[in-house]
Amino acid sequence: MAISPERFRKAASRASSGLILLGALLSVYLLQLKWSGPDFHTRLEWFSIEGLPRLTAGILLDDSAALMLVVVNIISFLVHTYSTAYMHDDPGYRRYFSFLGLFTFSMLGIVLADNLLVVFIFWELVGLSSYLLISHWYDKESAAKAAKKAFVVNRIGDVGFLTGLAVLWIQFKTFDLEALEALMANSSIQNGQWTSFLGYSLNADWLTIAGIGLFLGAMGKSAQFPLQVWLPDAMEGPTPVSALIHAATMVAAGVFLMARVFVLLDINALTFMAAIGAVTAFMGAVAALAQHDIKKVLAYSTISQLGYMLMGIGVGAYDAALFHLFTHAFFKACLFLAAGAVIYALHEYAHKTNAHFDAQDMRNMGGLRKRMPFTFFAYLVSTLALIGIPFFSGFLSKDAILSGAYAWADVMSQEALSWHYIIPDLGFFTVVLTAIYMFRQLFLVFFGKLRIASQDQQAGLQAVKEVPPVMRGVLVVLGVMSFGIIWSVNPFDQSYSWFLGTIEVPTIVSPGFVVDWQPRLIELSLRNHLEVMAISMAMIVAGGVVAWYLYRPGSKYERTYYKRPATMNKLQALSYNNWYLNDFFNVLVKKPVTAVAQGLTRVEKQVIDRAINAFAVINVIIAHAISWIDRAVVDGFVNFSVFFAGRVGVMTKSLQGGKIQSYILIAIMGMVLMILWIIW
């Protein structure tokens, strides 16, 4: 793709879309083959290290993987198609499509891999393609920074992932998922020692650490508290990318991973996951309330929904979480692509009217419903799905999670009042917030008047045009997928869904697990279903009413919205700045690390190097001293003997001064001496 010549750009992109379509069709075929059948698993030997079991790599296709395959392929195909129109003027067109292809490849790798190490490999590759796509417009400073941030924050999670892998490795010496499941079932905990079938033994805490480590990886990819900071920034990438990677598929990889290792987790790790998920769902929803960027609202909403999913896994509602993953993939992709359509339309509008404004800022929008009916339809449907209105897909899956969470709280608290109830309560409260921020966006974007036109421009709303047919088509397809009827015959009861009917919750095999935990959960969640539905309906209505009151066309907020500053009060600031998590990270991580790095460099320069240099200087001084001694003593001795001989020579020479008298004197003295010697 990247090497295809420029003039074939269209053809090349079509070819890649076509290949993805082929992939999608194949995956549907596979799904149909696989559905409810036995799991498909094939392994190839990859490499080996002497003395250890061979490392294999292979494909493990179970129901959830087959479904995920379909979702990834279909959404990827739709996004490819959408992008041919959305990106057609972009100079980096070919690069864009090749990275999109790389992403799809690696995502499929995650889905199909049978081996946690291979999952990790594709996991990182997905991170790479995300990095490359976020920095697609690399000459934009903010995009470059966002890309870096996304990768680095993900790396933090990956370290956790690696730790988890390492714990599993030392216990079981394999990464193969099926083998791990079997080995985990054969391991036991006794007296706080976790002993594996192979005879290795660790403190039981390491079982929890392994789970939390793996979950940390998921926290990075799926933007869970406190690692969610990268996702809003990642919106710097092109909108189709946001739809594919940062809403529908990659961010869901964390959830998918957790589903794959679900059976290996212990109760503490699950509880931790549920708590983090609930907190994230709530925080994301709050942060979405006060955003002005159309994509940011959706980004925070994604964080919030991912929180739901992980909460779902954490509370043991495995099937519900996966269900929500799939429904969410479609309606969130739809929302993003619709938002992309709005942005595209406003860009065209800006071109036409020579206006300069931020095409993503909702303060400039309004009333688009009349000019962009297709987009509006798609947006409306998927918004309703997201909020969880009956007859739409989100209702089914979200209620499944909530009833699971409620049942979990019942089980965990053992019918007594405990903190566990906070988790479903946070979930319910988030429903209210979801309704508020989504209706707010719907009102502000599609209802009222086009604010930018009414304030500044001559050309009015009429200048806004619906997007090209390709994009329209994609939106409609995705919009249709948001109808509840696609997913369940009975729009009020998710248990009628073909999806939940087939996906079976696997039995957790990690040692130390209470055997009847899972059956009780299922039983309770079936029982509390109506109750939960009623509560969440009430919540939605409450949220809807509040939103209508605050943001309806003609309300005070709507009238002053164009000139509204980013934040009006502290609460809004808290939401707008995403709980100040960025600053929190800056102060707590980035600054200390930078300071330490600078400090170490200085230490190196001033202490180590100085010590070395001082050592060298001392050496030189010693050398000088020695050379002085050399000159003064050793050489001195030599010189002295020379000098002495010279002096003697001079002296004897003077004796022979040619002066006869001195000769005589010496002769006499000699004689005298001789005489003296004789007579003594």
Binding site: Q656, G657, G658, K659, Q661, Y663, I664, L665, I668
Partner: protein, 100 residues
């Protein structure tokens, strides 16, 4: 008058002569010093000859010395004269052809 007195005289003469020979720079004065030394020897010869009344070799010897000394003085003076002509000085310090 014991014989020691002659010896002492002779020794004094010898020393004076020696001193003159060594210290004086003028060649002629040195020659005079040499004469003094010779005479010191003569004094000794004569004095010792008195102890032996039978033979008078001592006195002969001193006469012989005087004769030789006279001849020697003549030759030496002639040489000094030549030296003076050659070097324009009789200062022994300046005549250092023997310098090694």
């Amino acid at each position: 008058m014991t014989i020691e007195n002659y010896f002492i005289l002779s020794a004094i003469l010898f020393c004076i002569g020696m001193a003159v020979v060594i210290t004086r720079k003028n060649a002629i004065v040195v020659l005079m010093g040499v004469e003094l030394i010779l005479n010191a020897a003569n004094v000794n010869f004569v004095a010792i000859s008195r102890l032996d009344n039978v033979q008078i070799e001592g006195q002969f010897f001193s006469l012989f010395v005087i004769v030789v000394a006279a001849a020697e003085a003549a030759v030496a003076l002639a040489i000094i004269l030549k030296v003076y002509k050659y070097y324009n000085t009789t200062n022994l310090n300046e005549i250092n052809q023997l310098k090694g």
